[in-house]
Structures are given as C-alpha cells and as structure tokens.
C-alpha cells in the first residue's frame, strides 16, 4: 500500500514538473500584458514541429535549440507587435485580444496540419533508463523533467526579482501607468514578454515532444491545462503557477488512481472553483 502511494506521488510530481513547464509562459504573458493568449498552445506545437523538422536533418538536439530559440522568440514578438499592439487603445481590447489570438491559433494549427499532415510525429527520447530504489522505479526522463522545471522556474523568478529588466517586467505587471511614468519602455516590455512566453511554450513543446509527441491540435490540451494551472496559482504569479502545477499534478495522479481517469478534469475544476470562491484572485495572485 505504502509503495503504491509513493508510486502515485511520483507520478503526481512527474505531472507537476511537466505542468510547471507548460504554464510558466502563460503566467508571464497574462501577468504582464493582461492578454489571454489563445494561441499559447499553438506556440507549444510550433516548438514541437520545429524540433521535428530540424531533428529530421540529423544533426541532433543542439541545432534544434540554436534554430528554434530565435525563431520562437521572433514569432512571439511579431505576434505582439502585429496583432496585439493595434488593439491596445480600444476600450474592449482584452476581448479583442482573445479573438485575435483565437484567429492566430486557428491559422497556426491548420498550417501545421497542411505542412505536416494530420499524423502524429515523434522524436527520439532525450533521456532513457532509470533508477531502481527497491520496489520503486524512477525514470531518468521524469527526473530530468523535474530538475529542468525547477531550474527554469527558479532562474526565471531570480531574473524577475534581481535584474533591472526583470524588475521592469514586474513593474509593468503590477502597474502599467506607474511603469510608464518612471520611463519603462512598456511597448518593448510587452513585445519581449510575448516573445519570451512564446519561447517558453515552444521550449516546452521541444522538451516534451519526445515524451508526448507532436500533432497539429495537440496544443489545445496544453492551453486548457496551462490556463487552469495559472488561474489556480493566481494569474500572473510565476511562483503561484509552480505550486499550482504540483498540486494539480498530484491531484491528477490520486484521482486517476482511486477514482478514474475520466474524473481528473472534473477534479481539477472542482479544486479550482473551490479555491476561487474562497480566494477569487487564486492562490498567490493579487488584483491589479
């Protein structure tokens, strides 16, 4: 019984690390620009397809990063400048931004399908093998995912709190007018934030492609999950999403084990709703 409980916890933590990676970009972009980016999942797929394409040229994983990082960054930046910026002066811009990113998601996903076809694509595993600790077995891939997600998130939080640019990003997130008044170039911050968010989503896609595969509409699942995670953590709170990712990951494993897989999403939303009723701003969020 104890061993099974540990096993379930391990899969919960595995889920959590994956979710943390999925959600961080969304927490960032919502927190700073207040845009609910519906194309978030499409950037995730874009990362996966970029990896698939570059890897297909048989140079290994390193060139994937060299090519994908600037491309994803550029894609995110262009999205902000071309699609979001023209909307910002409108009274209903938040809704308009949702619509425009929805259009982008339709465009991107179907472009992927037109280029790569509807079939699933796969990449060879980054990490194989595992560790045996008595009756418990931990896969190297899962361990790596855990370490990567913790490293990425903590370094990101350090960047936000310790560097000048990071502070500027947080300042924009907390008070857009205030940030303008002190001379923070908010348009640059918006663009960069979008770019970094797309980059993080895409890197998530690259990292998870060997494990979860790439398919044209695979991003929607990511979008919904990332959305729930960031909402539970408090929209825009990076630290909040980290905790929320692990909480929801463990809930998923437990519900999957004791109740059934079809009830996982149900449980997620139940937890989210209860939390929001008690704390409308999420676990770590603040209004503003």
């Amino acid at each position: 019984m104890l061993i099974e409980l540990i096993d379930v916890l391990i899969s919960g933590i595995t889920n959590g690390s994956v979710y943390a990676l999925m959600a961080i970009g969304m927490a960032l972009v919502y927190g700073v620009t207040k845009v609910f980016n519906f194309a978030y999942g499409s950037f995730y797929s874009m990362g996966g397809y970029l990896a698939f394409t570059v890897f297909g040229l048989k140079f290994g994983y390193f060139p994937v990063l060299i090519i994908a990082v600037p491309l994803l960054f550029l894609a995110g930046f262009a999205t902000e400048v071309i699609l979001i910026k023209p909307l910002r002066h409108r009274a209903d811009w938040e809704m308009a931004a949702v619509m425009v990113t929805l259009g982008l998601a339709m465009f991107l996903d179907n472009t992927f399908q037109a280029i790569y076809g509807p079939f699933t694509k796969s990449l060879p595993a980054l990490f194989t093998g595992g560790m045996e600790l008595g009756p418990i077995w931990i896969g190297n891939q899962n361990m790596a995912m855990f370490v990567i997600s913790i490293v990425v998130l903590t370094s990101f939080m350090l960047f936000l709190s310790k560097t000048r640019l990071g502070m500027a990003v947080e300042a924009v997130a907390q008070d857009m007018d205030g940030a303008q008044i002190v001379g923070i170039p908010i348009n640059v911050v918006f663009g960069v934030t979008f770019a970094v968010s797309a980059l993080l989503a895409g890197l998530g896609g690259i990292l998870l492609a060997p494990k979860y595969f790439v398919s044209p509409f695979g991003g929607w699942d990511i979008l919904v999950k990332a959305w729930v995670i960031t909402a539970l953590g408090g929209m825009g709170s990076i630290r909040g999403s980290l905790y929320a990712a692990f909480i929801l990951g463990i809930i998923e494993a437990m519900v999957g084990y004791w109740i059934g897989f079809t009830w996982i999403l149900f449980a997620w939303f139940a937890v989210l709703l209860t939390t929001l009723i008690i704390r409308p701003q999420g676990l770590f969020g603040t209004w503003g």
């Binding site: 699609l83 938040e94 809704m95 619509m99 339709m106 465009f107 037109a114």
Partner: protein
Amino acid sequence: MGHGGNLMKIKKDLGVLLAVYGLLALLPIFFHNNMSLMNILIISLIWAVVAGSWDLIMGFAGIFTFGQIAFLVIGGYSSVIFCKLFGISPWFGFLIGGIVAGGAGILVGLPCLKLKGAYVALVTFAVHMILEPFLKSDIGRAIGTGGAQGILTVPPLKIGSYVYNAMEPTPWFYTLLIISFIAFFIIYKVVHSMWGYSFIALRDSELFAQSVGVNAFKYKLIVFGISAALTGMIGGVYANYVGMLSTRILGLDLFLILMVMLVLGGMGRFPGALLGAFITMFISESLRYFDTYRLIIFGLLVMVLVIKMPQGIIGLIFPLGKAGIIERTILHFREKKAKKAEMIT
C-alpha cells in the same frame, strides 16, 4: 445626441431587425427546392440565436463567458429527456430547455460575480469542459443522456397533424424564423431597456455604474439567466432539428465558429450577431472546397477583421462614427443624473 439620439438608435435597430427578417422570410420563395441552402439557412438561424445571446452577455454586458455551448447542450438534453420521460410535446420541451439552462446560467453566474475577466471565462469554460464527462458518466446515463452514444432518437415535432421532417425544410425554416425572431426581439428589448443600459454601464465601468445606482450583483445574474435561457431554448430546437444529441457538439469546432460569428457581426452591436451568423456560415460553406486551407483562411480572416474592422459587418452598414456606444451610454446616464439633480433642486 442625447435622448433624441437614443430614440433614433432604437428605431434604427428595430428597423434593421425587421428588414433582415423580412428579407429572410422571402428566401424560401426562391430556394425552397435547394435543400443544401435551406439547411444552411436553418442552421444559421439556430446559431444566430446562440451568438445573439452570447453577445448579450459578452458584447453588451461585458462579462467574459465561455459557457454558451454548455448552456446549449444543457438546454438540448433537458428538452429531449423531458419529452421522452413525460411524453410532452417538443414545443414544451423547448421551454423546459430554456428554463433549465436559465437556471444553470444563474447557478454558474453566482461564483462568477466575485471574479474578473479571464477568470470568469475560465469558470464558465470549466462548465463546458466538465459537461462531457458528466453526460457520458453513469449518472448521465441514469438520467437518460445515452452516455457516450448520445440520444439517437428525438421525439418528432408536430403542429396539428403535420409532422416536421427532414425532407421538407420550408416549414422548419419558417418555424425557426419565428422562434429566432422572438429570441432576437427579447434580446433587442433587453438591450434597449433600463437593464440593457445598466449592462453597458457595468461593462464600461463598474464604479461608474454603481455611482448611478446600478446593482451589479442583480444585473449580472439577470444577464446570465436570460442569455443562458435563450440559448437553452434553441438547444432544444437544435436537438429536434438534427434529430439526435451527443456530447460531440462540445468539441472545439462549434466554439470557434460561434466566436467568429460574434467578431464578424460586431460585438455589442445589435443585431450584429444575426448578420455574423449568416455571413460566417456562408463564408465557411463557400471555402469548404479548400479542404485544409479553409481554416487557415478562416483564421487569417478573423485576425484581419478584429484589427481592421472592430465594429464587424454591422459597422460597415452603420458606422458608429467617433462616438462609440460606450460614450453614448455614459452620456445617457449623465443626462439622467442631471435631470434627477434638476428635479431635486
């Protein structure tokens, strides 16, 4: 401007509505033999009601909800289940669908009252997401949802001794024309009532609305209820028209196309949703032979329209000028407040 302007606008909105319905009513004279076109028209009328009631809550009241299809499904299922259980006429089924969905709307609205923006979207979308496992579950099966298979047979709609059937689209068309007109007339009445102005005031500034004495709590619940009820009612009609129901309607496709209807028609611009529904359906059908490229084109279209045509198609027909509906509403309230002040002094 001012009151005279508002009156003009009211007349104009009703005029547009009547003109559109008048034109629609003439169509079967020319196309009653064209099954394909009639089917598209009928479906457009159904989606128009969904889009219109969605616009009521999202465009006019500014509450960011993603639960409209959930209400459609709730209305559809409850309408059919009630008809099958109690052997009542589908006409009553539609009403019951509306009532159940309206109740569900108010229930969903309650937790949303304290939430903002994207959170409301999430909570309402949550309803959408969990509806599918629920309807497919054993509990769902027990109340008659048919589980994963769905409901394969729906009691037919009758009027007198005439039984509606798939081979004769014209009676369906006129029935839907009337039903959707009633729905749009209700939406129109709501938009141009004190409720409607309160919605708009709430959308633009909750603080401002409260300062002129609008009770946010009450109005938000009312708008949730009305919007869900209209959608649920049409859900029953939908189930009857297509003759079956399953959870697949909760997929992404319908959700996206309804959004496109809102954007195309013009959000918060009565009766933009009605025009949006027809235009979207026609674009979608005429792009169908582009296969995979259809949705790529669609996506591009949505992006361009949102950026270049913020008022949608209806903005092309009736450009709003520099004064948006927002300013007009604020002016309306300013005037009211001023009048009140005058009366006191």
